[in-house]
Subunit: 391 residues, 3 copies
């Protein structure tokens, strides 16, 4: 008899509530901390015992801070968000705590009114429907409004500099989300804007909210980041998301495995950094059963045909990294598969129905993280401090 069996057996014998995984424990603790109604209906449990169950006695915990309290002390108020390296570990955790509150809020109410009366400018100089609609929805679910400025920005076509465009448009909104093909764009914008700039992708440099949402996905799906083995596959050379996530993982105790064709390997500099933090695990050109078996998070990325001079090489490489049901036979039961999407053939469609496929849920976590970030940056100083009332 396994240790697991004995633990469960004893829990029943001694009528002790037992939680068997970290994720559920977190949810339970949260529920207790918030004084939710914990009444259990007949459909929620099976009764094996005739002995009256010991009541679940809960002492009233110190109240956890409300969302307004968390936002009132935001270290990001009116700050530019340009790079993941701006964030300390505590700040990351604040972001995730607020994101969790956003998730609860949306699930219960649909929209909050945290940013009522605020206007967010979405400036997308290259198309990215996914990111722009994520920010758009995030702002609206916070009770705010958005103004969209698309890539075909007419004044830019008339030869206007990014600097001028930013200085013009920051007169309208209360913050600007900027996506721009140039690596320097976010820094230029931050220099000239009176309003906070939120970087939504500057060329091949960074895409901070993508990295935040990746980390938040891991936390929400697996309960914790520490102690995990994370395997990156695909294009590790050009994949902006992988580099940013590696940077953020410095705050955690993780093992990182790398699987990619030689020509798309992680840049030396990033790999050396991982090594210096003692986070580097197996490095391979093949996704072997051994690598899969150790993996808690399988993070796949898209291999783009354009990266290859030799199309035959592309075909071979592309297929060598495909994740399908056969691949996942070797994987743990509670691991997750992630992907920044859109995918091509890296993940077979049959995997979609596997509960471990987290890539669509990842999109939703992205909305919560963006809500949290927008709220932390844009929430005005608390109402009480305002002096005048209007009309």
């Amino acid at each position: 008899m396994s240790k697991g069996y004995r633990t469960r057996r004893m829990a029943i014998d001694y009528q002790t509530p037992l939680v068997t995984n970290v994720k559920n424990a977190k949810i339970l603790i949260e529920a207790i901390a918030r004084h939710y109604d914990l009444e259990i209906s007949k459909v929620d449990y099976q009764d094996f015992s005739v002995v009256p169950a010991a009541p679940l006695i809960l002492r009233k915990p110190k109240d956890s801070p409300t969302i307004r309290e968390l936002l009132a002390n935001s270290p990001f108020r009116n700050k530019h968000i340009v790079s993941v390296s701006q964030f300390s570990r505590n700040e990351l955790h604040l972001l995730f705590t607020v994101a969790q509150e956003m998730r609860l809020g949306v699930e219960r109410e649909g929209c909050l009114d945290v940013l009522k009366g605020r206007v967010l400018c979405l400036m997308f100089f290259e198309p990215s429907t996914r990111t722009s609609s994520s920010f758009d929805t995030a702002m609206k679910r916070l009770g705010g409004q958005t103004v969209l400025i698309s890539e075909a920005h007419s004044s830019t076509q008339k030869g206007e500099s990014l600097e001028d465009t930013i200085r013009t448009l920051d007169q309208y909104g209360d913050a600007i989300v900027l996506r721009h093909p140039s690596d320097e764009s976010a820094n230029i914008a931050a220099k000239f804007s009176d309003r906070p700039i939120i970087n939504a992708g500057n060329g091949s440099r960074e895409h901070p909210t993508q990295a935040f949402l990746d980390l938040f996905t891991i936390r929400e799906e697996l309960g914790t980041v520490n102690g995990l083995t994370i395997t990156f596959t695909g294009d590790l050379r050009y994949g902006r998301t992988v580099h940013s996530l590696c940077e953020l993982l410095k705050h955690y105790n993780v093992t990182i495995q790398l699987v990619s064709p030689a020509s798309l390997a992680l840049p030396d500099k990033v790999r050396e950094t991982l090594k210096s933090r003692s986070q580097l695990g197996v490095v391979s050109t093949n996704l072997t059963p051994e690598i899969i078996a150790k993996t808690d998070v399988l993070y796949c990325t898209r291999v783009q045909k354009e990266r290859f001079e030799d199309p035959q090489l592309y075909e071979r490489v592309k297929n060598s990294l495909v994740v399908d049901n056969a691949t996942l036979k070797h994987a743990k039961q509670n691991m997750i598969v992630m992907h920044p999407l859109p995918r091509n053939a890296e993940i077979a469609r049959e995997v979609d129905d596997d509960p471990r496929a987290a890539y669509f849920r990842q999109m939703k976590y992205g909305m919560f993280v963006r809500m949290a970030l927008l709220a932390l940056v844009m929430t005005p100083v608390e109402e009480g401090k305002r002096r005048f009332s209007f009309v």
Copy 2:
């Protein structure tokens, strides 16, 4: 002396309130049911009698259901709306009752707050300003928010499947309005989306809300659909709207006349269906005075040049179906002219000022019908059932 004269005469002699058409009767009954202020001012009537008028005594009727009550029991909550054939006659009537409430609400208040805190995704893979702005406004007049995703969807360009796009984007909004050039799109979307899909045109297949708004227009303009003669003219072969409307008319007792060039005749299958329901009237290639004289609803459609191999044939056909003031001389006084718009030359501009020209009003009815449909699909379960309050 006609029967009409005697009825009116008697009404005056016996001081009995008389309503002379169905439309006015409906409006009056509605007013009575809602206990509106029925005081009549001097500008509203002419007094021919010195005898004191009998007071209009109104017994308090059983209260008609409020809009919230109608929505609370919506059979469409969280349902996909893919085809007109999903709708029973009772469900159609519920839709129209709610649409009428929407009309009253908009006329009085501009916007309601029925969908406050809800987000609608508008995904248009082919341009249709008319439909997309109708849904956009409808959602906003319900107090909700929209997120637009236009045809130039970047990820689709990167080779993403519709399935993946839907599964990604349904993470953000609470429902999706989808317009797509492929016939299968709406069904694919409905299969993979966790959120309700509302079909706003799938290829040449269906465009359900267009058919609903056509029917609603007839009801609002003429008071009832039963007993009417409806004449379809123009391109009956490819006209998606005509086919859907024919399908919906199975719920009513109507006569349908068909006028089109031979090459653009109604498909045999649809015509046989009409015949089997005993709804088929005259079929002709010319819009004759006799046909016009019998018509209560003249439903014109656009004849597209692209459908013709021989441009000369197009020119001849195009002109043979034009509706102008001369055409309408033979028509009833209380008939209406409809058109799904945009029009080319099918309806002469001079007709626009004729009160029987209903095609611009038709657009507004469309907004009310879409408001009703969105409300029926997206209204959350009643507030009272929610357990937790947030912040």
Copy 3:
């Protein structure tokens, strides 16, 4: 000792509050009129005197009208706004008074709820991100909603007339902002629309809100328009904004100087009008130190390469009109530099940091003026007059 010194000296000696410029005086009077808290903190002033300061005694003035009162009597309610020539001087001042209230409201609250429940249609048949996002934000900061219809209007592509498009789309919104390349567009729209049309640029004709915002900028920056010398530079021939502003300046006592290459001079007709009003000052092809020295408002416009047949001429002209720090050495301390933006090389980047550079602030004033105009046109008759309540 100058007169200025003696005035200041006496103010201190006699302990009399002294305000040294019109702009500050206006702000102070406003504060007094609104009974703001006038407590002065230690950081706001330097104390040179040990004598207790005379208290600033304020009699309670007659209350200035609130924004709702101003809007309740709007002469523009449901009116088309097609041309600046529609506006009397009193109406202009009402517009600016409301715009000032909008400024205060936005600075304190972010958004108002003056147009809650109203929907504005933005129809842009040619791209103009700046104008469209200004109107978009303006509407949202008034608590309203917008529906955007962009230049790629599909039905227009299907050959629909502007008239039909307007008659269709005015069924959805409560007002239409129209930008169209044709000179006749605004008048056609006004003729056929049941909803108020706001002209946001009709071909080379007019762009009324640009002229309003220019004037409002001068008032807000310099306190008054009367008595000023305004210098226009650049392309005075094709520059729509210059023509409209000249038209509006008939209401004021100003001197207008004109600086442009001969080929881009102000059209004779406009110049004769200025002369007949005795407003015309120096006319020159060079921006000389003398002209600059007299200038209170330097209004620069873009010189477009397309206007020149000879590219060399363009290069010479372009550089002869550049405003840089050297140019501004000759200018007054409290003058301002304006530009409708986007700029090319007319204003050197080094000028941006000069407090006299008002062109970016001008954008913000534009939003306030557009808010004021939308509110004056779209505010419904006061709540009290509505008869029925809904739901």
